[in-house]
């Protein structure tokens, strides 16, 4: 369980452009469930995803992962947890251009020092899962939108994460590709993966995939925060 207690996040603290993204927010995310954060842009969804995914630390409050307090851990441990526990799918995919799809999928595993041959095999197998094995050597900019999206998902899966975090995954996709994305998420969920999605796309938050929809506004949970 990811348990978020009383967290606030202030950006540019003390400067004229100070901005509070989250205010005293509490939330529990159950493992093996799919949680969807819903709300207009600027409501703090992305910030919350970043904090839960160990990408940043809250200004106040605590977050614990499976009863382990993670807010006070040093950066190195945080990175370690991020790498082994979470797989990220970004709004813009954030793939590294000019480099092959296969290598992009392998990057998250580089710091683990996994043997090249096994990693290579695993990455190919992951691409194969998404029917991308023939595009393995293609550079990112040669891929179609759908292919790039699937490479981004493959990259998120390479370290066998417990939790998949996706921020507005369908924002740049047409309806067909959005449905395809949801199908993939359904597959993952069936395999027991915890999924946290942030979206203001009805295809996402109205889908049968959601175990829980948390509605956010102005950095606070307005609906669906505590308990099922």
């Amino acid at each position: 369980m990811i348990s978020v207690r009383d967290i606030s996040k202030v950006f540019n603290a003390g400067r004229p452009n100070e901005f509070t993204a989250l205010r005293r927010l509490s939330l529990d995310v159950q493992m093996h469930e799919t949680t969807i954060l819903k709300g207009p842009s600027g409501s703090g969804k992305t910030t919350l995803l970043g904090l839960m995914g160990c990408m940043a630390r809250p200004s106040t409050g605590r977050i614990s992962l499976n009863n382990r307090e993670i807010t006070s851990l040093p950066e190195r441990f945080l990175t370690e947890i991020r790498r082994s526990t979470f797989g990220f799918i970004f709004q813009q995919f954030n793939l590294i251009k000019g480099i092959s799809a296969l290598e992009n999928v392998m990057f998250p595993a580089y710091p683990t020092g996994e043997k090249f041959s096994t990693l290579h095999k695993r990455a190919l197998a992951t691409l194969e899962m998404f029917n991308l094995d023939k595009r393995a050597d293609a550079k990112i900019e040669w891929l179609s939108g759908g292919e790039a999206q699937r490479v981004a998902i493959a990259r998120a899966l390479i370290n066998n994460p417990m939790v998949i975090i996706a921020d507005e995954p369908t924002a740049h996709l047409d309806t067909k590709l959005s449905q395809e994305f949801m199908d993939i998420m359904r597959d993952l969920k069936a395999r027991g993966t915890t999924i946290i999605l942030a979206s203001h796309d009805p295809i996402v938050y109205d889908s049968d995939l959601a175990d829980r929809v948390v509605e956010m506004r102005d950095g606070q949970v307005v609906h669906g925060g505590t308990g099922p």
Binding site: T46, T47, L49, G50, L51, G53, M55, A56, E75, R76, T79, R82, R83, S84, F88, F90, Q91, N94, L95, I96, K97, G98, I99, S100, E103, M106, F107, P108, A109, Y110, P111, T112, G113, E114, K115, F116, L119, R155, N159, D167
Partner: protein, 375 residues
Amino acid sequence: MVIERHLHILDFTLSSLLRRKGKNGALLLVYTLIVFILASVLFFTHALKREAALVLKDAPEIVVQHTLTGRYQPIPVAWGDRIGKINGVISVRPRLWGYHYDTLLMANYTLMVPAENPPGPGSIDLGSGISRTHGANSGDMIAFAGHDGVPRMFTIRKILDSESQLLTSDLILLSEKDYRDFSGIAADQATDLTLRVRNPREYATIAEKITRMYPDTRPIMRSEILRTYDAVFGWRSGLMIVILSAAALAFIIFAWDKATGLSAEERKEIGILKAIGWETSDILMMKFWEGTAISLTAFLLGVILAHVHVFSTSSALFAPVLKGWSTLYPSFRLTPFIDFGQVATLFFLTVVPYTITTIVPSWRAATIEPDAVMR
């Protein structure tokens, strides 16, 4: 594990560098060229200095010149008798030598009467450079116009060994009688005096005594001759400083471009890598490899090419500069003396600063919070 991690990061760096093949290839090329020029200069000058130090250590201990109106003049042979009486001087020998300009080939030769084993009257020994330009060999007859314009015929006794070209390429050795007749120098005069001295510690005292005895003489000590060649290609001399400062400038431009050149795209990529689980140390390691991949390769290539250039092609690229206007140029092959300290210095002057200037600007980018890519 740790090694595999390094290899992975190196894989990434190389993939990343290969994206801009043209730019990074040109960078490598220019960098190699700079190292090549610097290393060539270092190798060449060091080898020459060693050569001079090794062969000139047996040069005359003291040479005494006679100066008149600030130029050196023939010295009266009789002065040698008085100088020879100075304590510590073993022997004094009047040395006869001078220049001859060959109007036909427009080349300068050095005429010299050897101290030991001079050719007999009417015959000469020729330096290999002259023998080459004249196409003359031992046994041939050769004519040079003397001071009075009248040509004199000489039989070539032998050609001096070409292995000593760096000393003898332009020499014409002849007997004292022939030289006096050829140059018109009076019988009681010599070009300068050479002294043999018993104790090296007495050089300075003896030189002082000579200048006191004959204020219009200039004694040149062997240590000064040796130092001349040690300093002549020093870091601060002549063209060397031009070459070095040009290289330094080119390097500064590089470094500046690097230090200020972390583009928004690069910054974003660093953010992505951090977000997907790379640590700050991994990013810095990646930047370290980026600097190393270029600079180490350039260093190795540059040094190898410079070595081939200086010691296998006899500094073919420097030759036009070194020749100046001389028509007679020794085609010497240098013995490859290498100062490993210099190679190490070159390494620290090229590879290390470049690598550091690659890492340092990425330091701040490497410590950004990874959630920046989500915002």
